[in-house]
Each structure stands twice: as C-alpha cells, then as structure tokens.
C-alpha cells in the first residue's frame, strides 16, 4: 500500500508562473511533512517542511499548504524560475520512527 501519493507526475510551467504539486497520505499518525528537491545525479535536498499543527508555511517563494482533515498537502512555487527545474518529492514521517515515506516524485520543467 502506497503511504504517500503524489501528483502530477510531470509539470511544465512558464517562467514567472506558479507551480503546484499535490500529495495525499494515508496514516494519520504522520506528523512531519517535508518536501525535497532533487537535481539529476544529486541526492534529495530539504526544501521546506511542515507539522500538522499549522495549515501553511512559507519560505521565500515556496509555500506548503496543509489540510489535516483531507490528509493532503501541497507545494506552491511562486514566480517559478528555470533554475527550479528539478524533481520534487513529498514525504511523510512519524516523528519517533524517523522513517520517511516518499511520494513518487514530480518532474518540474520551467520554460524560460
């Protein structure tokens, strides 16, 4: 059973546009939800993370929106830039277990 489902699989956005990636999770015990950015040939790098006691977290151009009742969370990238072109993974974890469940990834292509 896939614990975290991510969509879309790929996304093409014009420079300056908004990129939106969605994730849904199954286990209500999850209490930490990070987003990772991965460039080809590199390991994932933490972008932004949220806990379920807040509904939104913003860091620069990146915002996580969290809907606890729907068991969904999303990443918004404002003013998308060609340098944002990468694969993005959502993940979920239960704090004391320190084991990430990753989504299947979204390949973002920002057109100049």
């Amino acid at each position: 059973q896939q614990q975290v489902k991510q969509s879309p699989q790929s996304l093409i956005v014009q420079k300056g546009g908004i990129s939106i990636i969605n994730c849904a999770y199954e286990n209500t015990a999850f209490d930490y939800f990070p987003w990772y950015q991965q460039f080809p040939g590199k390991g994932p790098a933490l972008l932004i993370a949220i806990r379920p006691d807040v509904s939104e977290k913003k860091e620069g151009r990146f915002t996580i929106s969290f809907n606890k009742s729907a068991k969904q969370f999303s990443l918004h990238i404002m003013d998308s830039q060609p340098g944002d072109s990468a694969t993005y993974f959502c993940a979920a974890m239960r704090y004391n277990f320190n084991k990430f469940y990753f989504g299947s990834g979204t390949k973002l292509n920002v057109k100049p």
Binding site: G43, P44, F89, Y95, N98, K99, F100, F102, S104
Partner: protein, 112 residues
C-alpha cells in the same frame, strides 16, 4: 562541513555478486538511514542505524544488511545481487530524533 558523503559514486556488478556501499554522515550526526531509489521513483526506506544497531527496517529481504561503526559511518551490503537491485542508493544522516535529514549524492548501482 563536507555534508553526507557516499562512496563509490557509480558501481557496476554482475548478477549474483556482493556489493558494499559506504556512507560518512554529516559532522555531528549519529543516525544513518539507507534508501533505495529506483529510476523514476521516490526513495524507499531500507533500514536505519543508531548506536551501531539496526533500529528500523523497511520491506527489504535479508540480502540487504548493514553496519554502523563507532565513528557513525555506515556500510550497506547487498548479497546475491539481482538485476532489480539496480538503483540509486542514498544515505541520509540526522542527529538523534531531529527530523531534518541530510542526504548524500548517492551511489548508482548497476547490476548486469
């Protein structure tokens, strides 16, 4: 700070052989986790080491084993390699229960 370093970066092995991958955690980090990332997929948790013991294990067969040394570095061993073991193997380190995990660049294993 060198971050999480993994070696080797690329490896080609023949089906049935054994392989050892190595990971040095970020300075100050004492917990190491290993993930397998198949092409086009999100990372899958293999196991986690803390205080030189395997603390958690994902849904991987016993052919996958590991070790953590007193300096917190870690090894991942895979025996009787199968073609399906071809993947990017990622090491992630953290300090204690701190949720922020830092990933290495990974080892690309190809089994032929």
């Amino acid at each position: 700070d060198a971050g999480v370093t993994q070696s080797p970066t690329h490896l080609i092995k023949t089906r049935g052989q054994q392989v050892t991958l190595r990971c040095s955690p970020k300075s100050g980090h004492d917990t190491v986790s290993w993930y397998q990332q198949a092409l086009g997929q999100g990372p899958q948790f293999i196991f986690q080491y803390y205080e030189e013991e395997e603390r958690q294990r994902g849904n991987f067969p016993d052919r996958f084993s590991g070790h953590q040394f007193p300096n917190y570095s870690s090894e991942l061993n895979v025996n009787a390699l199968l073609l399906g073991d071809s993947a990017l193997y990622l090491c992630a380190s953290r300090w204690g229960q701190n949720t922020e995990a830092f990933f290495g660049q990974g080892t690309r294993l190809t089994v032929v």
